[in-house]
Each structure stands twice: as structure tokens, then as C-alpha cells.
Symmetry: D2
């Protein structure tokens, strides 16, 4: 994530007009390669102590790409120091912490971005626009999946994300927060959820120690949801879906049309509308690389497709523009907190084996 | 359905070798156009009283295409009269009736087919073969959807299937039984289920009376399931999925590979396997119209695709061949009953808003 | 082909209204299995001498499915006997013969069908309709391919179609006539052509004799054409295109839109139009199985796809309906002759290595 | 193009290891916004006189992104000044100039890159690898198209590329050189060609003057080719293919398999091989974003797709690495010259309306 964020800082002034030049000031981290990485990524300084970074008066924006459990302390300190804050998703590990972060940012009067990066995909913003224009009408059914297969091999080693003590809600936070935020972004709030999950490979080798470690976070999960807009929704998260490399899949069926999306073809959406004459109806593949689509005029001509990393530039641009215009940006800590509430409800449902109302999470 | 079955009888001896010639003997039904339909479909006789058909000694096979609520009585009478029986799916309206039908057929010593017609799709039989050969290994996640949009318009009229008094479990029996049987066919039995459903348009005009009638069966449903093989599964049924015309969609992710299917492209499957070299892996689109695929040598050369109706011929061929070989056919009343048990569990879960174990249904 | 035609006669009265019942009267052919095949296909009689069939007063329609070189004599005799005639494509082996057949049919006052069977694909008829409605405007570029891979293996044996003495123009007549007729059907006449071809495997085993035989017809050919409507066109024919099983591929780019087709997905077309709002443009996949599409109301509900063989039923229906209405059918011997003229021009261009005007063929 | 090159210089040291840091030294150009652009793109200096840039001892590499007709003089001067040279494709406007450039670079002992940028697409390099490994065997048929629709509207204005006096071979050089180089890269040299072309809209408004200007370069062209490897090939170039935004389409059919590509989905190829078991054969969609694919380890995890601009970084990386290793890079002026020879043959064929041997161009 640090690499993707750093790249965004490097490129943003070349492609997007801002009233200031972004300067990657200090790379904060640990490890022997910190200096080398800072040089490679274009940072002027390095620092191992994040508190020094937060208190540095030369720095205007704190960007948090640490493991999830560190997000809260850094963000709250940054807010107190009146720094604008970017925080990778999920915002933190539970709803209570999330509210604290949100409240601290508000109290500090700083812009805050919870980087749900897929809000920066032009094709997904086209979906948003079509929905907001009423093109699909009342939503009936929503299907969202985030499928990868990176850990399908039993030889894939133990990593910290597989230990619930460190990773909290695990895949529910990691992949789940993407799906939940996208659902909220497109269709609004969750009412209730019902979840199940599985660990298919229950021990993996810890490469650091050579020992087999017990896995305590799910490899795969499915959950149903009722949305406040009246739609039914189903979700799937998997790190072990053979052949699915980065398949963030969406299908929304509404009273007037349907929309499909697959992140592996992130420049495209599929759209069906009854506005077409009966004999000409069908799912059309829209390549969202036209000047009419968000962000495209800043890049290349029609049909010259964008990649995954561009989403970071778009998100950070929205954040920086909001700072320059002294207004709020979208995809903020409030969004991060709302998302966290739903994640907590899903985790609770997963434990109970029952439907859980999101309002129950406080 | 009667049209599709009649067509199968007409064509079967042309394409498949059987030791007897199929004769469409008597078309049983009601309505002014019975004679004309019989002539059009190639039946020699007509009859309005099904009991006379069942007792006619010239008739060897009874094929039941009535509304679901009539299946039981006809099938049991046919079994008692020692006729072989074909019955459209769902077998009947509840598990108890289904067991009675199964037991009667067994007692009568007759072949019995519950026509889960999609078992006759060559591409789906290829999926079955790949799974049975261990190509996808242990199954992890199963996604099945049956999506149409025929009733999405509020102008679409009231039909009997929308009245739960007549239609019993409604979409759960109609579309649900297809998904459940296919899951059982490919992967085995269900352990437990958790369902939700919605009626999006709650009143429709009865064209017979001109009155608005209340709708009491769901337009759309989703349910989760745990399978006895250890896989998680999610399901969706819809009559109001915009743009989906006959989308029976399958995705199965296993430890060694994945398989996808869409009935709108019923000659194809997509298959991913880790057996391919890493740099050459991907979902391959297999056109199941090669001589190596089931039934194809009876039809046309490679790439000359089959249609929906062929599935009926394949199913009825399997049934008739089993009669001629005096063995049992697959897709029988036992399958119909097992499927019905799962349907009942889903309906119960839908009422309770909770997980229901299939074993609870007796 | 005889199988596909026979099947059409068997099914046509079940699905299409005609004022008469089609009776498969006499199967004419040679070989030990003639009787058995006649029974299987539902013919009442057999005959080895085609002249007796042509002169039989009980017979109204002569259907010619012989090798191409026999078409002329049978068709002319049938025309003289005032029988309506169906003839498989290509109409014959050269333009002169084709004109004789056309003139004989006209003199005989009989309906005549050159069975360019793909005119019976509902999706292709939708393309025709869109073009005729002006949806793509002036056509600019046309690409047509007919690709199979049945003879790609060097072990695939010598068959008569590989001997130019028997097969005449070979692949130009066999596959080429399909592409040429479809081009004429959709876009009108050819002006001039420029062709090349290759034999990639020049000897194959004759299974009858065990000897290796020299191949004298092309495995693959490409040609360019100028159409009278002003469009440029390119064509490809291949029996050795790896993985292409029955890929009759079409792309037409016009001033207002584009259309794509692939026979391996014969229920679908892809259609792009500038009539859509700029941000919503894309190729839509239209599943041509709606009631609005040709022939569909005679078959099954939306989304219940048709297969390859249905095209024969549609073509023969058009022919029989024209007989019953005493009017001319489309896809007649005039079409067959015009197509043959273009085939001859392509063969001549292939020999000369130069552009050839179609008018030069007389 | 200057934007894409500048971006590559900005990013290359972040993602690729090189023994030196790339410094964008001087932006050479004309126009009022030169200073602003230089700042935006990260250049330290600006210059209006290219000769001063070429003679500046602080500069090691000259990158030429001018209109084609200026390439020659700048490249030759740079070579004489012993600067390494990058030149956008097409190398120049005719084969004679191209040879002069190639010879000058050789004489100057400098690295030279003719930037056929699509050689930098990881998916296309996978195609190259599969071919070189013999996976498709002897190539039989090659189809290449480069289709866009940017000028399809009659309202699209006159631009200099539409005047043959300025643009030379027009679309043959612009789009054609991409197709020709890719063919050479994958399959080797051309033997002979036969071309046709059309101007569909013959006058367009010059926005500078408000006058209608005559168009003298083709909107669309098609040509056939015989390759020295024995394959037949067909090509299409269009600026007026409705709905095609950046469709560089490839299909190669060989004796053992086939490969397809579409630049609008540039992370993917489709691959068919007879190595698969017969019942499992099909075109597989390979997402070329795995660590096994070229360049991917320098970017993001599996399935996190790349965009169009990455190809420039890959090409320039190959060039700079070759400089650092004191060896020759691929895609050099020799490739540019060979490509130009074929372009000239096509232009000649287009004029003559006949086949032209590439050797005829000297």
C-alpha cells in the first residue's frame, strides 16, 4: 500500500491541477531498507518514530499505511496535531475505535480520508452516476464478491493476517470493508446481516520459525444482508477462489435495469436498460475511458485503458482538492466508521449463526 | 412443458437408438384446443380424464406435466397401475407427498423420472465429469443463481404461480428445485440453509377478472447453505432480474480449480485448473459440442450448437434406455424427494428468519 | 445435411402453421443402410434412382442434398417435372450451371430454395433488420470469417472435398458461399475481389486405399472485396484454424454503428450505436430469443436458446409458406447463381494473383 | 506522446532498478505553454532550438516525439553527437530515410530505440514467449486489426494527419506500423502485400481557418500479406470503426494452437492448445498479471491490472538497461527501417491495385 500511495504522490501534480506541489516529505517505517526505499519512492527524509512525524511542523498530511491495529493511535495523534489524515481501509479494528477516530478528526478540524480506493475507479463512478440518475430505478438485488486465490496452496505460508489476535476481523475487515463501502457508496445503508465462514486449511508454516501455526481467521465467508433501500444483498469474500485473481464482482438488479462490474476488467461495466427498444436490449459493455467519464480527460485518449494504481491518484486528488477548497472530501472517516459498524455486525452474526441488526452494534 | 416433452417423443427415435419406437399415444388435458394440440404434437388420441389414461393397458409410460399440486395423485395411481412415470419438477409441493410418490413408484416396480432437465445439458454433464474426476478437488465455495426478468413489469399480470395457496413454495419450488438438484447432482447433500425473500410488486391485475390481486409468493429470494461435503454455498432466485432472461449461473471454486456455467450460453463452460503451467493459467471456455462430450455424437458436427429443448430428449432417452435395460435411471423420484426436503427447509428458514437443518424436515 | 433436412420435415408442422402436413415421402440414396436410415428419419419409401423420384406424381418437392456436382442435373429435371425444389448450397460448381438451374426453375414455374441456412438464424435476421432500418448507416468495413479446425491434424484423412476434380472450388464453394451469401443478404452485391490461398498439408491418407493422396483444394483462403455499396470487405475461410469449431464471424462497421456475430454463440449479436448517450455507449450483447425476434414465438420462452438445426426448419418454413401463398421465397436459385458468380471470380483471382471484377464472370 | 514519455521518465526509477537516476533535463518544443508544461512534466529546462539540445554535453539521451517528418534530421544529428536516441514510431516517412537513420545510429555507436510501444505489453510478450516455445507450431493464418473511431463524425475537424503532403503514408504509417512491427516481432518478415483503402469523408473543416479542406489520407485500409514463415495474413486499419476505441486485435492460428489479443483488454490474451485433453479444450483467458509474466514483479500483486502507459516505461526500461549493460536493445532503428520498408510496399500496392513484393522497395 505504501508503494501505491507513494506513487500517487509522485504522479499527481503531473496529471491533476492543484494549487500546490505535493512533496513526499518523510517516509516513516522500520527495517534495514528504509533509506533505500525512501530514495526509491522519492521521499526526502526517513523516520522510525511516528510521533516525531506527527509533530513535525513542516508536514501537512499524515498518510497511514500501517497494519490496522496501529491506525487509531496515529490518526488521533495526527488529528490533535491538526494534520490532515489519509488512512488505509479498514479504518480500524472495531466500531468503537472508528468512532473515536472520526470524532478526533472532526475535533481537529482536519480533512480525513479513509481510502476506499475503488471509489476512484472511473467505471465504478459511472455506475454511481447511473444509479443516481435513476437509470436502474429501485434496487431489488445486489450481489458483491471479492475473490482472490493467493492463499489457496497449502504451501502458502502463515502471515499475520491469519491470526485473529493481530488481524481482528480478518477477511471481514480486509475484503469485507471494500464490499461494504462500495454497497454504501452506491446504494446506502445496511439494515441487518447474516454470515457464515470457513477455514479450509487450518495450519500453515510460519516461515520465520519453521513451525506450523494454527489459522484463526476465515479463508472464505458469505453473508446475506437487507439494505435500508429495500434491496436484498449477498456477499462473498475469498482468498481461495481458484482462478480469481482480483475479482471484485458486482451485480445490481433494479426495477429499470442492471449493472455488472469485475475489477479484473476495471475499465468496463456492463449495463442493461429497458429504455432500449425491446428487440435491441442487452447488456452493453461500456469502456469507461471516454472524456465523459470521471478523471479520463486528465489521462489519455479514448480506449487507452487505466490500471489499478490510478485509483489511488484519483482518491488522493479528491482529498487534496478538498483541502485546497476548504471543503469536506468524500470517503472520509465517517464512511470508515459506518463501514466498521457493518463489519462488526457481520463478525457478530458469524459468531452467533444468526441475523444481526446493524443498529445493535454501538 | 407439454410442448417440450411432446417434441422429445417426436425426435428421440431419429437421434437415439432404442429397441422400441416411441408412440405418443394419448394427450390428456382440458380446453377447447385439445384435439388441435394433439394433432399438432402428433398424439393419436385425446382424453380429459387422467384416470382413464392411467388405466389404459395400451399405455406404458405416464408423463405428468400438470401443475405441481396434481403430481402426487396421478403419479401414485400410475405406479399402482405399474406404468413407468415421468414427472416434471418439482416432484410435488412438500416432502411428505414426495416420499409417498417415491415409495409408490418403488412399490410399483416402475421406472420413475423426476425431470430435472438441466441434467441433460452436455456442458453440465461435463462439469459433473470434471468434478467426479477430481479436477477441482475438494469444493470450497458454490454459487448458484437462477435469474429471469419475465415479471419485472408491474403490468405483467397475476398468474396462479403468484398465489401461495396454489403454488405452494412458489419460486423456491419452481426455480429453487433446479438449483438444489443441480447442487446435489454435482456435489451431494445439503446440511442446513438460511433464507430470505421479497415481494417487490405486491399487487397485479388478474386478466380473467380485471381485479388487482394480492401476490403471496416471492419475486426474488436468496439463501445460504452448508453442504455435507464441507463447501459453503449461496443461492439466488429471481423473476425480476433485469436483463437476465434464463440465467442459470453456476460457480464452483475448489482446491484445484473452478468451474463456471451460464444457461444462456448452454453449450459452454468455463474451467480453471492449476494443472496448467503458471504463466498459462486462465479460465478456458470449453464448447461442449465435441464427440467426447455426452450425447453429441447423436447430433451434429463440432461447434454446431444445441438448444434448450435438447435437454428433454437427453433426459427422456436416459429414462427409456433404463427401461429397456431394466435398470434404474438417474434423476428419479428419490432425487425429487431429496430436493423437496431441501425446498421445505428453505421455506421454513424463510418463515423463521433463521438457519434450518435439512434433517429437521420429515 | 440429409439428416438436418429430414429433421426439419419431422418438426415443422409441430412448430409452424402451414395449410398442409409435410410427409417425408421417399428417401433417395445409395448404400446398404438406406432402408434403415429411411426408417430412422421417418421416410415412407426409398429409391436408388433419382429420376424415378423426380417423375413420381405423388411427390411435390424435391430436396437435393447430394454432392455439388449432381445438383444441376437433378434440379433441371425436377424443374421440368414441375416440382418445387430445395437445393443445398453451393447451388452448383460454376456460374454457367447455376444460371441454367435458375432459368430452368423459372421456366418450370416452381418455387426454388438455395438453402443458405444461416439466413434462418434469428440473430442474423435481427442484424438484417437493424441494417435495413438504417441503424448502422452507410457501411464502411465488413469482415467475415468462416473458421473451423476439423482437418488440422495431419492424421485427418483424405476426403473427396480435397480433390479439386471432384470438389471444384473446394473451400471457396463450401465455406465461401456462406460468407458471400450472407454479405449479399445483408449488404448487397460485390464489385471485385482479390484472393490468396494455401494448402498447408499437401498429402493425406485415403482410408479406402491406404495410400497417401495429393491435396488440391486449399486448407485456408483469404480475400479482399469491394462492395457496390462502397464498403471494403475482407474474408477468411479455414478448415485449420485451431480452436475454432464453427466460427462464422461477422463484423460490420458503419457510419452510425457496428454489429458483430459469432455462429458458436448463434443466439447473440453485439451491437454498438451512437444513438446511446456518450457515457453509456458500448457493444451490447442482444440475446435474440425474445418474442420480437423472428421465429421465436414459435419456440420457447425468452432466453431458452435455439440450436444450429433450427435454421433448417426456418428456411424450409419460408419456402413452404411461399408455396402455400403462391409467392416467391427468398434465398432462391437467383441468389444461388449470384453467389456462384462471386465464387468463380474469387477462384479466378486466386489463380491470377490479381483483382478480378465480378462482372468478368459470365 | 510527449506526456507518456515524460511520465515514463518520472516513474521508471521507482519501479525498475537501474544504475543511474533518470533526470528529465530539457523539454524542447514550441508554444506559449512550454515553460508550464516543463514544470508539470518535471523537466529542469526548456529549449526551442533542438540543435542546442542535441549539442548539449550534459544530455545523454535524445527522445524524439515530433511529427514524423522531423525524425530524420534530429536523429541523425543526435547520432553524430553520440547521443543515445529514442524515436517514436513510425521511424520516419519512407524507407530511404529510415536506412539513413539506422546507419547514422550505427556509425555513432549509440543505442537506438524505435518505440513500438506495444512490445512493452506484458500480455503481448507472453504471446511472443508462447510462439517462441513452439506452442502454436507453424503459423498458418494471422489477422491483425487496429481499429479506432475517433474521426467517424463528419464534424471531426481536419487535422494535419489528413493531408498526405504532411503525413506521408497517413494511416499506413500511423496505425500500420504498429501492426507490421507486431507481426515482425511475433512471426518474422513480410514477403509481399496487396492493399486497398478508402476515404469515406472527403472534406472536413479546418478549425484554424474555418474552411473545408480536402482529405487525402485514407480513413480505413485493408491489406493481405504473405509472410516468409509461410503464413497468410490479413490486416485492417481504421479511424472510423464505430465503437472500437483502441482495438488492436490479433488472431494467430497455428498448427498446434491459436492466440487472440485485444488492446482494450490489454492485460489478457486468449490461448487455445491441443495439448489439453480433447474434452477440456477451449480458449483460455490468461490474465497476464502473474509474477511469471514480464515486468509484473516490478508492479503490483496478481490481478492488479496495468494500463496503457506502462508500456512506455517497459520500453524505456529495456533501452536504458541496454545502455547500462552496453549491449543492444530490441525494437531498434533496424526494426524501424524494416517496418518502413513494408509500409512503403503497402503504399505502393495501394496505388497500383496489385500485389507488391517487399523486396521491390529499396
Amino acid at each position: 500500500m505504501g508503494k501505491a500511495h507513494s506513487h500517487a504522490y509522485r504522479d499527481i501534480n503531473m496529471f491533476f491541477k492543484l494549487p500546490f506541489q505535493v512533496v513526499p516529505h518523510t517516509l516513516c517505517g522500520i527495517g534495514d531498507d528504509l533509506e533505500e526505499t525512501a530514495k526509491q519512492y522519492g521521499f526526502l527524509n526517513t523516520e522510525e518514530n511516528w510521533e516525531k512525524v506527527v509533530s513535525n511542523p513542516d508536514i501537512d498530511v499524515i498518510d497511514i499505511c500501517t497494519p490496522d491495529s496501529f491506525h487509531r493511535d496515529i490518526a488521533i495523534a495526527a488529528a490533535k496535531a491538526n494534520k490532515h489524515i489519509i488512512c488505509e481501509k479498514p479504518l480500524t479494528v472495531n466500531y468503537q475505535f472508528a468512532r473515536e477516530m472520526r470524532d478526533a478528526a472532526k475535533a481537529g478540524g482536519v480533512n480525513n480520508l479513509c481510502n476506499f480506493t475503488y471509489r476512484g475507479v472511473p467505471a465504478l463512478r459511472l455506475i454511481k452516476r447511473l444509479i443516481d440518475q435513476g437509470k436502474i430505478g429501485k434496487p431489488y438485488a445486489v450481489k458483491m464478491q471479492y475473490l482472490q486465490d493467493f492463499s489457496i496452496s497449502p504451501q502458502f505460508p502463515f502471515v499475520w493476517r491469519m491470526d485473529s489476535a493481530l488481524a481482528g476481523p480478518g477477511i471481514f475487515g480486509d475484503k469485507g470493508s471494500h464490499l461494504i463501502d462500495m454497497t454504501r457508496y452506491l446504494l446506502g445503508e445496511f439494515d441487518s446481516v447474516c454470515s457464515m465462514s470457513q477455514i479450509f486449511i487450518d495450519k500453515r508454516k510460519d516461515l520465520a520459525t519453521g513451525e506450523m501455526r494454527k489459522i484463526s481467521t476465515p479463508d472464505c465467508a458469505m453473508f446475506l444482508a437487507k439494505l435500508k433501500c429495500g434491496a436484498m444483498a449477498s456477499f462473498e469474500l475469498s482468498n481461495m477462489a481458484a482462478g480469481r485473481k482480483n475479482a471484485f464482482l458486482i451485480e445490481i438488479n433494479g426495477e429499470k435495469g442492471s449493472i455488472l462490474f469485475d475489477l479484473e476488467r476495471l475499465n468496463e461495466i456492463k449495463y442493461f436498460t429497458y429504455d432500449d427498444p425491446p428487440e435491441q436490449r442487452g447488456f452493453r459493455v461500456i469502456l469507461a475511458t471516454e472524456p465523459e467519464h470521471d478523471f479520463i480527460v486528465n489521462w489519455w485518449p479514448s480506449g487507452h485503458v487505466l490500471g489499478w494504481e490510478h485509483t489511488f491518484i484519483h482518491q488522493i486528488y479528491g482529498f487534496l482538492r478538498a483541502i485546497s477548497e476548504q471543503c469536506e472530501n468524500e470517503s472520509n472517516f465517517e464512511d470508515g466508521a459506518q463501514c466498521q459498524q457493518v463489519v462488526d455486525a457481520i463478525v457478530l452474526s458469524n459468531q452467533r449463526g444468526q441475523w444481526v441488526s446493524v443498529d445493535e452494534i454501538r
